[in-house]
Amino acid sequence: MANRTLHRLQRLWVRRTLALALFAGLAVAGYLAFSVWDRVGALGSAHQDHAEWVYSQLETDFLKLERALDDARSGTAVELTNLRKRFDIFYSRTQVAARVQGVSELSAETERLRRVLDAQIAIIDSPDAQLFSRLSELQFALQTIERLPRQIGLASISFAAAASEAEREQIVQLIEMLLLLALIVISALIAMTIRLSRQALVLNRTSRAAEENHLRLATTLRASLDAVVVVSDGGEILDFNGSAETIFGITRNTALGKNFIDLLIPPKSGTQQSLNLETFREIGRGRVTGTSRHEFEMTNDEGHIFPVEISVSLTRSDDAPVFVTYIRDITDEREKEEEIIRARDDALVAYREKSRFFAMMSHEMRTPLNGVLSAIHLLNDGRLDGEQQRFIDAALTSGDILLGHIDDVLAIERSEADTSDLELQACNISALAIGILETMKPLAKMSGTRLHLKQSGVNDRLILTDPRAIQQILVNLVSNAIKFGPDDDITLNVSYQESSNEDAILQLQVSDNGPGISQSDIQRIFEDYVSLDSRYERHTGGTGLGLGIVRRLVLRLGGDVTCHSEPSQGTRFVVRLPVTTIVPEKAHTPALRDPNPRQLTPMKLLAVDDNEINRDLIKAMLQRLGHTVTLASGGQEAITVATNNRFDAILMDISMPGVNGLQATKAILAGGGPNAETPIMAVTAHALPKEREEFAAAGMRGFLQKPLNTKKLNNALEALVLATHDGAPHIDQPIAKDSKAPVPLLNENQVSELFEVLGHATLTDRIATLAARIEGALPELMKTHETGTLQAKAHDMAGVSAMFGAVRLHRQLRDIETDCKNGDISRALERVKDIPNIWNNTHSAWHSRLADNRADTAS
C-alpha cells in the first residue's frame, strides 16, 4: 500500500517534470522561432539601395558635371543646358547619397557637398549669359569639393565591408539559432519517439496479456463444470457457457440477449428476482452478491424446476455493473441428502423399535421368571432333603443368572436414556457401600474371596446422586472382581474429596490382587460384549455387558472410569463422580441401608395384580412378613375394595386389562374415600424412566420392580413408613418432583402426637369443637371480598388448623394470607373457593383417623 502510493507519487513527479520541461522547451523554441522569423523578415526586405553604386555614381556624376562645365566654356546654349542637367543630376545624386542610412561618418561630407551645391543654385538657374559669365566662380566652388565624392566613395567601401560583415555575422547567428532550434526540436522529437515507442511496447505487451487472459478466461468459462451465466444489471444475458447449455437445455445463441428472469427463473419467483434487480439498480448493492452460496430454484427449457446452488459475484466492467453467476444443479445432492436423512430416520426408528422390543421382551420374560423364582423361594423353606436342596439351589442360581442378564439389558436401556432422566436423590453412600458388600458376601464366600471396605471423608455424608446407578456400578465392579479373582482380597475404597467449588468428587475404587489385565486388553474392556477370560465364560457365563453398563452409567453421572492393571499385579478400577453434598433433612435412607430385614409393625395392605400366581405370591410374601393382605384382581375391583376399607398401603400392578393401575390409583386418591391419603406403590416390570414419571404424576408414592421377593417388599414398605413419618411424601420419588406433590391433608406425626398427648376421648371432643368453629367461620370467610378482612380471617383459621395438624388446609389459608399481603385479591379469592372442599376432606380424614384409633385401642 505504501509502496504503491510512493510509486504513484514518483510517477506524478516524473510527469510534472516532463510537462515543465516540455513547456520550457516550447517557450525557448517559440522565442527562437519568433526571433528567427523576425530576422528572416528583416533580411527579406532591403533597407537601402546599393551604397557602393550610389557613392561611385556620386563621383562619376561629379566628374560629368566638371566636364559639362569645361564644355560650357564654349558658351553654346546646348552646353549650358547640359551643364544645368548635369548639375541637377549631381544634385539629385547628393540627395540620394545623404539618404543612405548608417553612414554617420560621411554625413558631414555630404552635408558640406550639399551646402556648396545649394550655394551654386543661383548661378545655375540664372540666364545663359549670366551663367556663362560666372562659370569660373562655379568652377572654383566645384574645385573646393572636388575631393569629397571620392572621399565619400572610399569611406563607403570600408563601411560597406563592415556592414556586410555585420550582416554575415547576423546570418551566421541566425543559422546558429536555427540549428539550436532544430536541435531542440529534434531532441524533443527523439525523446518523444522513444517514449512513444516504449509506451507502444508496454501497450502491446499489456494488450497481448489481456488477450491471453481473455482467452484463458473464455476457456475456463467454457470448461467450467458449473453453469456460468453473465447477466447485466438489466437482467440481459451477456454470456452463457457450455455447462449452462447442458443444465438449462438452451443453446448459447438462444440465451444471449434474453432476459434471464424470463428464461431461467420459475414464474413464481420471477417477480422477486425482478424486484431484487431493481433494488440493486437503485441502491447499487445486491442481496445475493458476494462469495456466499445460496440455494435457489431455476427452470430449464422444458419448464422443469430444479434446485440449484448459486453464487453471484459483481464486476463493474467499463461503467455498467455485470453479474457473474455460477450455477450448480444440486438435484442429485438434494436427493442424496434426503436419502441419507431418510436412512438416518429409519435407523433411529428401527433403533427405537428395537429398544422398545428389548424393554417389552425383558418385561415379558421377567413376569414368568418372577413367578418361577418366587415359587422356588417359597419351596425353599428349609424342609427339603439334601438332594432337593441342591436342585433348589441350582434352580435359584440359574434363575438369578437369567435375571441378571435381563437386568443387564434393562440397565443398558436405562443407561442410554437422557441424562435429564437422572433420578438424583440424597443418599448415604457409606450405608450404600456397606449394603452392597453385604449382599455380595455370599457370592464372595462361594469363590473364596474376601471383601474389604475402606472409607475416607465419607462418614454419614449425604450426597445428591442416583443411588440406583451407584449401586449398579459397584455391583458390576465387585462381582467382576469376584469372578476374576478366586481366593483374592477385594477392597472397595470409597472416598470423598472436597474440591474448590461447591461440587465435590466421589471416588469409588475397587481393587483386587488377582491375575490383572494386559495393557492391550484394558483398551477394550469397557466395550460391550467383551469377555476376557475363558474361565469366566465357562464358570459363570455372562453377557460381557457389565463394564459397558458401568461406563454408560458413569458417563450419565458426568464422571469417568479408569482401569489400572498389570498382569499378576492385580486390577484397580477407579470411578470418579462429581457430586453435591446436601443438608441432612432432604435425605432419605436408601433401600439397602440395612441389609437385615427388620420386622415392621403389621400393616393392612391391598395388593392388586391381574396375574393370579403373582397375586398369590405377593400375598404369601407379605403374610410371611406379618402383614394383613387383601387382594384385588383388577383396577375396578381395587377401587371398590378401597372405597369400603381403609389400608395402610396399596401395592398396585400397572398393566392390567380394563381399568389399569394408573387409572385405579387416580380414582382411589381422588375419590375422597378412606384411602384418599393412603400411599400407593407401583409394582411392575416396566422399567423405563418415562413410565415412572407417569406413576408419580398419577400420585403414586413409590415403585417396586418385579420380580419381587420378601426382602425387597420389606425394604419398600419400610421406606414407605419412614417417609410417611418423616413427612417426606414419597419413596423412590425424585427430589425434583417434590414441589409437584400434593400436600397431605393431615400431618401424621402430629396426629400421633395428639393421640398420645390428649387421648382418644379428649381429641374427639377437641376435633368436634374445632369443626364447629371452622364451620361457623367458613360462611363469613366465603363471603368476604375485602382484602384486609380476608387476610385476618384466613390468619385466624390457619392458626387453628395448624394446631390440629391439618396441613393442607393450613397451607391453603396461609397462601390466601400471602396473596392478600401482596394485594393479589383475585388469586386469593380463587384459593378461597377450594377451602370448603379441603375442609370436608380434612374433616372426614379426622373422623376416619378417630374411628381407626378407637378400633386399635379396642383391639
Partner: protein
C-alpha cells in the same frame, strides 16, 4: 535632426522654384520606343491618361509619400505591350531592364506628382517609376529598388 528637417524644407522650396524650368509646357518628358515606333509623351499627355496614386515610404525619402502617376501597365497596355521586357533609362543614362510582367494593376506607376507637386529634375524628377513598396514585401528588394528608376526619360520595349 532638426537641422536636417530644415534643410529638407529649403530643398523643397528651392525645388518648387525650379518647377517652372523643369516642366515647361509641351516639353517631351518621356520617349517610348517599340522597335522603330517612337512615342513621345509630354506631362500633359501623361496626365491625360488615367492616374493612380498611393501612399508609401521609400528608401530614398523621409516619411510616407503620396505618389501619383500613370500605371506602367496602363501605359504599356495603351501601346499593346503585354509581354517581354522593357529597358528604362534615366537622364544620366542609368538604365535597367524590367519584365513586362512587373506592370500589374497594383504594381508600379510612372509618377509625375510627389505629395501633390511636380517633381523637378533636381529633385529626382520629372518622372519616377515607383512601386508601392509598403503594400507588398516583395517590392522591398534590391531588384525592385534597382528598377525604381528616377529621372526617367526613355523606355524601350524589346
Amino acid at each position: 535632426m532638426k537641422f536636417q528637417t530644415i534643410s529638407n524644407t529649403i530643398y523643397a522650396l528651392v525645388g518648387g522654384m525650379a518647377i517652372a524650368t523643369a516642366a515647361n509646357a509641351g516639353e517631351i518628358l518621356l520617349d517610348v520606343s517599340i522597335g522603330d515606333q517612337k512615342h513621345k509623351y509630354t506631362l500633359e499627355d501623361l496626365q491625360a491618361l488615367p492616374s493612380t496614386d498611393f501612399v508609401t515610404s521609400t528608401i530614398w525619402t523621409e516619411g510616407p509619400q503620396v505618389f501619383e502617376g500613370v500605371l506602367l501597365k496602363e501605359l504599356l497596355d495603351k501601346l499593346d505591350v503585354t509581354e517581354g521586357e522593357i529597358e528604362a533609362t534615366a537622364i544620366n543614362d542609368y538604365s535597367v531592364t524590367l519584365p513586362v510582367s512587373d506592370a500589374t494593376a497594383d504594381g508600379p506607376i510612372v509618377a509625375y506628382l510627389a505629395n501633390g507637386s511636380l517633381m523637378s529634375r533636381r529633385g529626382k524628377g520629372p518622372l519616377w517609376i515607383v512601386y508601392p513598396y509598403d503594400s507588398n514585401p516583395m517590392y522591398k528588394t534590391e531588384t525592385i529598388y534597382s528598377r525604381s528608376i528616377w529621372q526617367l526619360d526613355r523606355i524601350a520595349v524589346k
